[in-house]
Symmetry: none
Subunit: 217 residues, 4 copies
DNA sequence: GATGAATGAGGCTTCATTCAT
DNA sequence: CATGAATGAAGCCTCATTCAT
């Protein structure tokens, strides 16, 4: 769950001119490095507000040189979003398929959501700052599909809990999912950067409210 | 038509003080109308993604003509944010000063937050899409101040509930406030537009989780 | 030399709709007032840098309203330049026609030039700041003509002094005129505003150098 | 007369410091060429009246392309003014430090002033056309400082000549400096372009008047 | 005479992208 | 791979001017 696996590894045409075996790998490493730099900026300012010059400057090169590695600014963010959804969907699926009761599954889903906060700051920030802009692009249609897919997993889990009598029957599963998802994602704006304990504490805290509310018993 | 013999005989500084109507009249019909049009676009796409040409086109005029009414694009969004925080702060203060017990006060705060969703879609969208960009401007420093002020009201209420034994003692009041605030605001992205029942239902639903959690009792 | 007499008084069409006898006079007074306000701004910032809004604001009206009095911004500056050259040419001619010897005539010319500094700050500033821009307009062709006319009077006087043996024979009359003219005009930038003694002292000082140089005898 | 060093070129502090070549390389051939083209236009029309499109057209490129080389129109004129004052100050200092008597020093100062006319037409024109506009910018505060520095050198020299009995005791050193400075600068408007003999003749002529006046002896 | 609203041209600047070297 | 230079579209804003009311 931790590392960006190798999303888009299938996409050819990036590492041209194979002079030796190592070249492609080296190029790919350089590319990954650039993506990580861009991610840092996207996490700070969002997609639209980050210019390709910003990214190039961060890498110590000129903006035109970026186009040896990516064919557009969008393809960088695409890479980040693809990775985010690949991991997130996999994690949600794993939680559901673990076969535990609905309560445990929901807890696992929430934990997974919080766990993605730190490694995917950029993607989440972009989703919040720039989704209104990106949604119109055909290229990012998969985002909506992935979100629907994840939502389906949550809804299924919540329904199961309601049938079991574990969860309240008066809840709307879809609204419930969105509330939790949004509360988690929004934390990317103000939660401490890089402090792991913080993220864990946050997860525990929010989970506490989600499961049992603020009322004392 | 009267007399004009005394035109500027005093030379009062630089700016006149004519127009006995007062500032309320200055914020003319036309201006208000334009703000509302801009708000619609901001609510859809955010601040940065909306161009002055978009706004002008919506009004059926040329972009330069907007500057007859506003001195900058920022001043339009400023107007919207100012109004949002004025109303929101007032509503939160009213809820707290109603003098009810912490549970009732928190309920009132949540209801007020949801009630602002529909009339302030633009401001809330901007806060989510463009805050990273606006925060750097001195002009919008008041946003951070207003948010802090509102947070203080929530925190105070939550603490009171904890002292009363009405709320769980293990909650962090600040994190709790942010979770609720963000969950409400994020709904602006997907909640139905213009359907009042929807907003009310949403409020009831989320409030249910916040107060008592998803667990059945 | 003191008052802007009635430059452009021949230009009809300004005071329309004669309802009564006084109206035209009143309108003309209002117009003069506006010209004076504009002159103040031109003297401060030049022609291009002064906007019609600046002028209107100074008068406490809206920029569109200025067009009831002038058909363009250029016509305001035209009025100022016309007045400047009318007076200046007249003064130079008077100095020459006084029939004194070349030395006295030159002294009178210099004094007249300095005397125009204060009442014609605007025209002189415009001539220095904006002449490069205005020279291309056919409307202002008369400026070059007037300058040539005045130069002719100076050159004639200097030549006379050279024939008399009063002035050095090695001087180029044209260059001499320009040097003096420019030294006087440039003072408009830094010489005290409104202090008459200052202008007189300046005239005496510069005249001293012009006539006898900086060398002690 | 010295070299245009590269004052203000790098603007450090914000941006990297990469590119090991040094700033001299940054001020590339192309950039220098563009500055020269812009200078030609500024010398003709001044700063405000010259648009970035004018400059770009002169270079055969689009206006946006200029921003590959400069970060603003102001930075172009800044470069020209900086160079002008660097050279001019150095020349004035050299004249004073040559250690000759006051008369010779003043002569050298005047010659230096005239010598800067041709290579710095643009800067001098801008100083006359646009100083009222630029003076308000913090960026150009150094202009006033440089002018004061140069004035101090002139004043010192004139005072020395007065103590020696070489110059008239009744002159105000400051006014004297300004008169000469302005007479020289104003010549930029009408003196022939590119003809060296002309500039030299002009210097000799004006110097003749300055030192000994127009009166024959 | 003035207001309020608009026009249209043009100003400076930004930015993703391309491409010869 | 990178640079240096450019494109072209677009962004925000300014300003003289017009005109119905």
């Amino acid at each position: 769950m931790a590392r960006v696996t190798t999303a888009n590894s299938g996409r050819p045409g990036t590492a041209r001119r194979r002079r030796g075996r190592g070249d492609a790998a080296l190029a790919s490493r350089r590319r990954e490095h650039l993506v990580r730099l861009a991610a840092g900026l996207f996490a700070e300012k969002g997609f639209q507000a980050t210019t390709v010059r910003d990214i190039a400057k961060e890498a110590g090169i000129l903006s035109g040189s970026l186009y040896h590695h990516f064919d557009s600014k969008e393809s960088i963010v695409d890479e980040l979003l693809t990775a985010y959804f690949a991991e997130t969907t996999a994690a949600a699926r794993a939680a559901v398929e673990a076969g535990e009761d609905a309560g445990a599954t929901l807890t696992a889903l929430v934990h997974a959501a919080f766990a993605s906060l730190e490694p995917h700051r950029a993607a989440i920030t972009v989703l919040q700052n720039d989704w209104n802009h990106l949604r119109s692009t055909a290229r990012f249609a998969y985002v909506a599909r992935s979100e629907a897919e994840i939502e389906a997993l949550w809804v299924e889990t919540i329904r199961r809990g309601q049938r079991d009598g574990q969860f309240r029957a008066d809840l709307d599963p879809e609204l419930t999912h969105r509330m939790i998802r949004d509360a988690v994602r929004a934390a990317v704006r103000w939660s401490g950067r890089g402090e792991r304990t913080d993220a864990a504490r946050l997860a525990e805290h929010h989970l506490g409210i989600i499961l049992d509310g603020v009322h004392a018993r």
